[in-house]
Symmetry: C2
Subunit: 895 residues, 2 copies
């Protein structure tokens, strides 16, 4: 419980009292007091202030909850509840538990952030054997009174006492069957009275205590149950997932009851002020006659669409429409409302900003900018769109109503859903693709040999590897949905197994790379078409971040570059040159270079590599004409270009090897590494393989000249990978400069910036030295995270990340969300040190964090100039970059 001692955040200030009536005169608009009143309490107070018809009540603050969780029920709270209840009783002219004219109340939880997993609502509190008689008498409706009493006992039993609902439903369904009715509201008085008796037996049997009949006890137990539920496993898990502070606590509201189950001229409903699915400016919702709120929400009974409300309750419907307009203008957002009609009179029970789909979010935000009465600013509109909204509109997904025969699940490696037929190697995949079949490529893990197969498939599934495995990286780069690291998947030559299920070649399979789910058969997909408001919002986002935080793409091919540019990339921040050598026509030349026995052979293979590289660059520079392209020189260890040792060894022991294979085996052994992540790669290769980097730079420069010859406007930056020291960078810079001098156009030389990746902790620490001669830094946050944590992503993500997150040893997967405390500190330090010695230093980020919203905010705070991410994450990055700028501006304005 020590969590709750630690209430330092300004959102957790101590208040003078624990309880605030809905019409309390706060210093601020109540809607801004969510940290004290909870969302529900704040909005009820706000609606009260707007003179909307809200049943009176009061809110017990989050502070009371924190006090309770620290040290148990605060005695002060008893006094305050009595006082608040006294005020409410005087205002309503009724007393809780009064045998003559009883007040009934609802008790609801309401935390600062909407949060599933918490105790929700208890209605009709205050009923007991005496007050029910009074209620029957006063309402003149015995059925209603006993219906309410029975509902109360079941609800209290379920929610406060934790009894499974089925215990009560058993009796309810028996009663309904016996009377032959279809809804609870139709039950006779007699049945309801019997239900009251049956329910109380259930309670006594399961809890070993009689049902509490004293209303003051009922109220305190309901409040304590709300507070306790804050600490429940589901609530905790949700908060961990969402990054919500466990120490916030929840508020509780106590509100006088109105009765939708009063009679046939009563009802209850939920409504949105606009369509939450499409965003269309038409109210949307359901209601139900003669029912209480839970009936609508639970979906246990049959509801009517909101459009029929006019016919049923013409006066209340008009009043509700009016309330919708006032709420939208006041909250300046689409609202979600819970209402009750009691004997024709409308009551508003709660409101909040309404959840919406991505498409609706975009449409509503843009519409509210255009609506003169709401006059949302463009900044506000952009701020309201979340990365999840974009993901929804940008990727296909399993259709909401689709039948999903889930088979297994793995790491969600590349978003979007895919359907296709299973193939187990590149060749059969290509053949199937050529026959017109959609292909799901299934491999134990992928290697460069599989690239041709990856190119033609709809989705990728692997048994091994983490989120930066070859399959994952390639799939994300190309926007192919992928699920990787499916640990119970065993892949054979032409079949795979998951548990007892066999997947044969050609079997239909579906996968969702956003959730990691793999399903049998073809699952129906929704083909989300991009709503027209998307480009409007992104253009506004671009205006916000202009000159503050750029967005480039990681793109290795002209096709990627074109896709990135279409999605708004302002250049390429990472053009990896190694992927260019993985094509079936290129890999052999690369291997030739590695195997070269003589200097002449070596130079010959370098020349051939130069030719193929030049071609690639011409196309990329064309796609990015007028924009910067940052070319990273060769980075991966050489064994990535060599065949698998295990396979060759087994072949050697059985069939024997050809001469070529024998040489390849020797080379693979020579270049095999214990820890390739920390091995001979990056600029280290440049040192060991003289002329390699110069060849690459020549290829880039020659391509740029070819572009200029046809009137193009190429811009190139050369990036040295894996630097550890200033002398190392200077040596590499020397090669690059010499190659530029050789290949540049003397009359009108291309201006080429030369910089380095910062991806080792040492480079970050020594950034001041390195920046003296570097024109730019680009943080490779993937590798920097691996080295800072000592995490090999391939190894730890599958085995270790889940337990580490579950046990709270890590707050987030640091490969998803940049680790601000460790890796972030290195980046801050490096940017600061680099700019000290080189004030003009350009700073970018080209790790995958460049496409993650939270990380983008951290990186902007570190002082980076641009982020670079895969083409498919560009829209998210544009949005998140705008959010980061807005957040920084608002922090500045506040201070």
């Amino acid at each position: 419980m020590s969590n709750y001692e630690n209430t330092l955040s300004p959102s957790r200030e101590r208040t003078e009292t624990f309880i605030f009536d809905f019409d309390h005169e706060h210093d601020h608009d109540p809607m801004h007091l969510r940290s004290i009143l909870g969302g529900k309490g704040a909005n009820l107070a706000e609606m009260t202030r707007l003179a909307l018809p809200v049943p009176p009540g009061f809110t017990i603050s989050t502070e009371a909850c924190r006090a309770f969780l620290r040290k148990g029920w605060p005695s002060r709270l008893d006094v305050e509840i009595d006082e608040a209840l006294g005020r409410l009783e005087r205002r309503m002219g009724r007393r809780l538990g009064d045998a003559a004219d009883p007040l009934l109340v609802s008790v609801r939880s309401g935390a600062q952030f909407s949060m599933p997993g918490m105790m929700d609502t208890v209605l009709n509190l205050g009923l007991n054997d005496e007050s029910v008689v009074a209620l029957a008498r006063l309402s003149g409706d015995e059925r209603f009174a006993y219906d309410s009493y029975a509902r109360f006992i079941a609800m209290f039993g379920r929610i406060v006492l934790g009894i499974a609902g089925s215990h009560f439903e058993l009796h309810l369904h028996a009663a309904m069957d016996a009377e032959g009715v279809r809804t609870e509201g139709e039950l006779s008085v007699r049945s309801n009275q019997q239900l009251v008796r049956d329910y109380r037996v259930v309670v006594e049997k399961i809890t070993d205590e009689p049902f509490p009949l004293e209303p003051a006890v009922q109220l305190r137990r309901a409040i304590a149950a709300i507070f306790t539920s804050w600490d429940g496993a589901r609530a905790r898990a949700f908060r961990e997932h969402e990054g919500i502070d466990h120490a916030l606590g929840t508020a509780a509201t106590v509100q006088s009851m109105v009765f939708g189950n009063r009679d046939k001229n009563s009802g209850t409903g939920v409504a949105f002020t606009r369509n939450p699915s499409s965003g269309a400016p038409v109210p949307y919702g359901d209601f139900m006659r003669n029912a209480q709120g839970e009936d609508v929400v639970a979906g246990t009974s049959i509801t009517q669409p909101l459009s029929e409300l006019d016919a049923a309750f013409p006066e209340a419907a008009a009043q509700l429409r009016d309330a919708f307009v006032r709420l939208e203008r006041h909250f300046r957002d689409m609202c979600d409302i819970e209402f009750t009609i009691e004997q024709g009179r409308l009551w508003m029970l709660q409101t909040r900003r309404g959840m919406r789909t991505g498409a609706a979010a975009l449409r509503i935000a843009v519409a509210m900018v255009d609506d003169a009465d709401i006059a949302l600013s463009r900044d506000e509109a952009v701020a309201r769109i979340t990365p999840d909204h974009l993901a929804q509109v940008l990727h296909p997904s399993f259709a909401p109503d689709a039948v999903v025969d889930a088979l297994t699940s793995g790491l969600a490696a590349s978003p979007g859903a895919a359907v296709g037929r299973a193939y187990f190697d590149a060749d059969t995949a290509i053949a199937a693709h050529e026959r017109g079949e959609p292909v799901i490529l299934i491999r134990t893990e992928t290697s460069p040999d599989d690239v041709a197969g990856l190119l033609v498939c709809e989705g990728v599934l692997t048994a091994r590897g983490g989120l930066v495995s070859h399959a994952a990286v390639v799939a994300r780069g190309w926007g192919i949905p992928a699920v990787v690291g499916v640990s119970d998947l065993v892949v054979d030559v032409n079949a795979a197994r998951v548990g007892g299920t066999t997947i044969a070649e050609g079997d239909w399979l579906s996968l969702d790379g956003s959730s990691g789910i793999v399903a049998r058969g073809p699952v129906a997909l929704t083909l989300n078409s991009e709503p027209p408001e998307l480009s409007t919002i992104l253009a506004w986002a671009d205006t916000i971040r202009e000159g503050r935080l750029g967005v480039r793409a990681n793109a290795d091919t002209a096709a990627d570059a074109r896709a990135a540019r279409e999605r708004g990339a302002e250049g390429i921040g990472l053009c990896r040159t190694e992927h260019m050598f993985l094509g079936a026509d290129r890999l052999p030349v690369m291997r030739e270079m590695i195997l070269a026995g003589t200097e002449a052979e070596y130079q010959h293979s370098l020349e051939r590599l130069l030719e193929v590289q030049r071609e690639d660059f011409v196309d990329i520079l064309e796609a990015m004409d007028g924009l910067q392209v940052t070319v990273r020189l060769l980075d991966p260890p050489l064994h990535e270009f060599l065949p698998d040792i295990d396979t060759l060894l087994v072949k050697d022991a059985t069939e024997g090897l050809s001469e070529e294979e024998t040489r390849l085996l020797a080379a693979a052994r020579h270049w095999r590494e214990v820890n390739p992540m920390l091995g001979v790669r990056g600029v280290r290769l440049g040192v060991l393989k003289p002329g390699l980097y110069a060849m690459q730079v020549r290829a880039v420069l020659e391509a740029a000249r070819m572009r200029r010859d046809v009137g193009g406007d190429p811009h190139v930056e050369i990036m040295i990978p894996l630097t550890i020291s200033a002398p190392e960078f200077e040596l590499a810079r020397g090669w690059v400069q010499a190659a530029i001098a050789e290949a540049n156009d003397d009359d009108d030389p291309l201006d080429v910036r030369i910089g380095t990746m910062i991806e080792t902790p040492r480079a970050a620490l020594l950034a001041g030295e390195i920046a003296r001669t570097a024109d730019f830094f680009s943080f490779g946050t993937n590798d920097l995270t691996q080295m800072t944590f000592g995490f090999s992503r391939d190894d730890v993500e599958g085995k270790m990340m889940a337990p580490y997150l579950a046990k709270g040893l890590l707050a987030q997967n640091p490969f998803d969300v940049l680790d601000a405390a460790g890796v972030g500190e290195l980046i801050r330090m490096a940017v600061q040190r680099g700019r000290e010695t080189n004030p003009g230093l350009l700073v970018g980020v080209c790790g995958e964090h460049g496409g993650d919203a939270t990380s983008i905010a951290t990186l902007f705070a570190c002082g980076v100039d641009y982020v670079s991410c895969s083409p498919f994450r560009i829209p998210t990055a544009r949005l998140a970059a705008a959010h980061a700028v807005l957040a920084a501006t608002s922090r500045r304005d506040e201070s």
Copy 2:
């Protein structure tokens, strides 16, 4: 040349003039002005001040050299040379190149640090066709004059003009043969005159220019050649090896000539004031009649021992003995002297502190503390002993006169030389050992399976692996000489090949783990016995570092612990528990634990592991009774305990696998990692294998109780490896505390500190958080270096370190010498942050840097409390720790 722009160090202050006469009135004792005057110039000025007979001259400062290397010959230098030469000519009453009474001079280089590879000495400068005639006339000795002239031309040709000496020797030997004489000094005038002509033809033919006859030109060219030689490849390589700044520059001395080749009453010699080999207080040296200095040094002619000087030159010998005493008292050290006797008169040409063996260094240092006239302090005595001195007396080595048939070389992984017969696997090695044969174990690389073989061998040789490979680490830990990573070694089942040479089983082989040399046949070794002064010096060192910097040992066995304690370890800083599971009787239990299918099997194997661990700890705690033992819980990835996949795969493809092997193969595949260094190891294993760490802690505590039961005094610290965050450490601390609570003696509980390794960059950055609940930190500098640089030592050290050092991309191998700028900064930061939140935090270092002198100084400056190293490096660490304390004290005194 940009190096020379950068003259920021205080040792490179600018002086007002470029030139200082030997008797210049300096503000400080000239011996302290080595950075300006060079070692030679400083000591000549010092001897001049002591009124010893030094031929007059002047020194051209290092500042002149730096100016020359920056921008070429400084015009100011011409003026100053003319002025200094004028003063020297007036003092000597002779003029350079004078046809009547010529002055002749020697020109020598003299850098701040003694440095091979630089241009050394030109004698007799000033001779030409005219001055030689005057010299002949004035000396009345034509033979002497022409001998000097010929020598001068050859020396100038060789040293200043860079002509190979053989061109001159050809003529010289022809002349000597023709005259039938055995030394140069016996040649006739005629022959010498002919040699002058022949030598000048050689010069003109090779340089295409006539020999320069103008003495002013000779002088300037000699000086320029000295300055230029500072930048020569050999000098640069030497400085890189020794860590000397390239920007220092060298000085040059110009000294009036005296002539040891004047006549039979002349001679020249070199002497040490004590025996440089044994340290015995008896002068030691050689001399030669009628010869110039080079003859003695070159060893081309026959010398006489110094003991015969009395007989040859009684007066000079007495004067020299007197000079020896004065020099020793003045320099307070053993000195190395170059002297010349000209016609019976003694001249001192230079002096410096004499090089000495380790044994001599120890004996001299202790003797000079005892000598009332020298009265060296104990601090000074300790400061004079270098780690190399200790290495010489502590390890056997190839005997200096041994014939070494070098076969190849590799990484010098564990110091000392070994001789034995080649065996290629543990079983044959053990059998040979049991037959009484000394064994050299040769493997491609070693694994835990080889441990039994390692235990019995004299030396280890591997083809693969770097300085932290399994073989290297185990060998260093046990003090077994080892050479690893011999890249041209190919190891087969029962033979090995190096190039064309085959090493068969049983062949004799020798290796030197200090130099990396591998030789055929048995090489004679010197069995250095530890000189008695060693313990005196180390005891003095301990007094200096007491309470400032502790020295513990890395020891995993009782034998290691005993060896460490004998050598002065004050506890164990790193007791690795994994090595305890590698014994032939334990590995199967460890594998059982990994393969355990049920919880019961798992618990059963944990219990069995507990038993074997407990036994080991009892012995270790006994060996370290009364001292702290820091136990590191299990660290390595589990696949280290599993068999090699390749081998099983091949066996599977050929003979097939047993059921056991099939399970082992599956486990090996499951636990196989792409980058094991960054994989599931350390505390991560603790999280994945519940109960493992608790079992280990119970074993330690139960062992401690067993020790107490027999009256022992055990002290235990528990160390969590590979921590990345505070919650992770706190979780592990919780397990440890619970296990301690369970196993501790309630009546008299053992006080156990719980701390963590700091070996990931993130742990260093988050040290403030982690220190809140950690009792101690121990820096694992090996892994911290690997992660900070992104260097997998196994992969980069063999392929990359040599080119990186050669190209100056790294100043030192960061695995040998701690990288102060990168890794050191992380350590400084972590110590500071840790002590901020936990002022009582104990800080140690248990990486291999804990045994390296330079690193120890850096670590002490970072604020660590103790270092821990392998038992065999303990004496070095004790000495280096004292040095670090002394250096810090002297820095404090100076400021």
